[in-house]
């Protein structure tokens, strides 16, 4: 191991001590948590920030005059500023808190499509989208009469940019694309996609659920029109997500959910919506979850996103090297240089469900199934796959244990051939 690598491992060992759950045992073995694309774990700083909010500063926001209401307000709006800075949005009014990335896409799909789409208009998606970036658009298409098109993939699981360009047409009103595939791990070339879409007059929604936690995101240099991500995939709590939008677009989009907070004035014959961002935040928001998300952002900034990105690239390369040694194992998706920290695979004669069960007996937590991407699996000719997904706190030792556990699982089914 080089000096730099050794000091990285020492740093990871220190960081892991911030995560109480990483110290636990599963099946009598140390936990190797390789299911981070589904949800990450939380450092003590996030758990403590939420506990402190409940124990010291809790009240509803935006309504009260009393001391606790003011403190809760400061923490909640302070979190909005932290999120703004985290993705370099121009203003806090463009940061809308939702219950998660799925809720954020549903908000965008409902509001944008109902306002801007007419029968025959087109929504351009890709074959690698998560169900959360498929179904809301299918629902919108049913409501508006719009047509959905899907950008196909190349043989090795990257977006076919030529096809994308051909599918972009004068009727394409919106492109919705994931920044990183939650199955293939593919990092999509967003700058090219966004430039092409804009040249064709289409807006672009980026599903950042698998990218914002792992790499620096600057919405201004990226020039995306809408961006969504979730708190629980970046060390934060469940139940909170973010929708970022271009200001003039958000101003023209109508409110989605109606209720308290999102109004300026309500009369028996109608209402006037509040200004941004509140017009999209009906009802009591996930106050403490937002405060937890802010603590997660503080923690990630301290760790450093450039280091996180580099660390995960090393882990992905190591995983490819280790898994490629395994006879009968096939990695799904492109080579590591096109990937984030996600490595999905299938093993001959070892069903993913059985693989996940047998790996769990070794303390290795992976996901098996279609990972909320049934159309993609259909396209790949698979009913399911096994997925290992990394965060900066994972170690090379855990990757070795993953490979060893797969070999052991294979042996269970090696009786006949």
């Amino acid at each position: 191991m080089s000096g730099a690598a050794a000091s990285d491992e020492a740093r990871v060992a220190r960081l892991r001590q911030d995560f109480p759950i990483l110290a636990r045992q599963v099946s009598g073995k140390p936990l190797a948590y390789l299911d981070n694309a589904a949800s990450t774990q939380r450092p003590r700083a996030v758990i403590e920030a939420m506990t402190a909010a409940y124990e010291q500063h809790y009240a509803n926001v935006h309504r009260g005059i009393h001391t606790l209401a003011q403190e809760a307000d400061e923490l909640y709006e302070g979190a909005r500023e932290k999120v703004r800075a985290f993705i370099n949005a121009p203003s806090v009014e463009q940061i809308i808190f939702t219950s998660g990335a799925t809720a954020a896409i549903n908000l965008a799909a409902r509001s944008f499509c109902d306002r801007f789409l007419s029968p025959g208009d087109e929504i351009l998606l890709t074959e690698m989208e998560h169900h959360a970036n498929l179904v809301p658009w299918q629902q919108a298409a049913e409501r508006t009469g719009a047509v959905i098109r899907y950008t196909p993939l190349t043989e090795d699981g990257r977006l076919d940019l030529d096809a994308f360009q051909r599918l972009l047409g004068p009727r394409t009103k919106l492109v919705a694309v994931t920044a990183v595939s939650n199955v293939l791990g593919t990092i999509n070339p967003l700058p090219e996609i966004i430039a092409l879409a804009h040249a064709a007059g289409a807006e672009v929604l980026v599903d950042g659920a698998q990218s914002v936690p792992h790499a620096r995101t600057d919405v201004q240099s990226l020039d995306c029109d809408l961006l969504v991500f979730s708190g629980h995939k970046m060390l934060g709590p469940t139940g909170v997500g973010v929708l970022y939008g271009r200001r003039d677009l958000l101003e023209r989009m109508p409110p989605f959910l109606g209720g308290g907070s999102m109004i300026r004035e309500v009369r028996f014959d109608g209402f006037r919506p509040a200004d941004l961002p509140y017009k999209f935040e009906a009802g009591t928001p996930p106050i403490v979850e937002v405060i937890g998300l802010a603590a997660a952002i503080d923690y990630l900034e301290q760790v450093g996103r450039d280091w996180i990105e580099q660390r995960e690239r090393q882990l992905t390369e190591a995983a490819h090297r280790a898994l490629e040694q395994i006879d009968g194992l096939r990695i799904i998706g492109p080579e590591p240089k096109y990937k984030g920290g996600i490595v999905s695979f299938v093993v001959e004669r070892l069903h993913p469900h059985d693989a996940a069960e047998l790996l769990d007996r070794e303390g290795v937590a992976v996901r098996a199934g279609h990972h909320c991407a049934m159309p993609l699996h259909e396209r790949l000719g698979l009913s399911a796959s096994t997925r290992a997904s990394f965060y900066f706190y994972n170690t090379f030792d855990e990757i070795d244990r993953l490979a060893a556990a797969i070999e052991k699982a294979k042996a269970v089914f090696r009786r006949k051939s």
């Binding site: 099946s27 299918q138 298409a141 049913e142 959905i148 098109r149 899907y150 069903h351 993913p352 469900h353 059985d354 069960e357 047998l358 007996r361 098996a368 199934g369 279609h370 049934m374 159309p375 699996h377 259909e378 009913s383 399911a384 052991k408 269970v412 089914f413 009786r415 006949k416």
Partner: protein, 184 residues
């Protein structure tokens, strides 16, 4: 191999998985049903040839999925080969888990119970001309292209592409019904 593993992936289960009993189609099918477990993608289809006296002259299954789901289907088909549909009706989820014989977590119980659900529905699902088979086969090619996907999601069409069986109890209830002693 730990004791736990030996319990779940033991020889007779692996034998059913690798050398299944009556995997295929009935020569003359009178009843058929298919279903899948949407979480893990396990699929089971069961065909029956039921005579006028309610005896099953033939019983075959087909499907894909994990070891537990496929081995359980093989064991179930072997258990009911030549038996009557009345006996199927009296065969509860607990009976199925007891027959499988290995301690299963609630999530894996769903794998083992998929074929049981399908058989319980199949006895109420007579083949009406080719229509039913076509529907069950449509399920196998679920979401094969975007146009079909959109079509399937149109109002009034079950996205799974198959009719729901009348009697199948919800899986959550089945997990509750599991023998408690098996879970410890």
């Amino acid at each position: 191999m730990t004791n736990n593993e030996e319990e779940l992936y033991q020889d007779h289960i692996l034998a059913h998985y690798e050398d299944p009993y009556h995997r295929g189609r009935c020569s003359r099918c009178t009843h058929v049903h298919a279903d899948s477990n949407p979480l893990c993608g396990d699929k089971i289809r069961i065909e029956l040839h039921v005579d006028d006296h309610g005896q099953m002259r033939e019983i075959y299954f087909d499907g894909e999925g994990c070891c537990i789901s496929q081995a359980a289907a093989s064991m179930l088909v072997e258990r009911f080969d030549g038996k009557s549909i009345d006996e199927v009706k009296q065969f509860s989820a607990q009976d199925m888990l007891a027959m499988f014989g290995v301690r299963l977590t609630p999530n894996r119980q769903k794998c083992a119970l998929l074929s049981w659900k399908v058989l319980q529905a199949a006895i109420y699902s007579p083949v009406e001309a080719a229509r039913r088979i076509a529907q069950c086969e449509q399920m196998e090619s679920l979401h094969s292209d975007a146009e079909e996907l959109h079509q399937l999601s149109a109002p009034g069409v079950d996205p799974a592409g198959a009719e729901r069986p009348p009697p199948a109890p919800p899986v959550a209830a089945l997990a509750q019904a599991a023998p408690r002693s098996e879970e410890r």
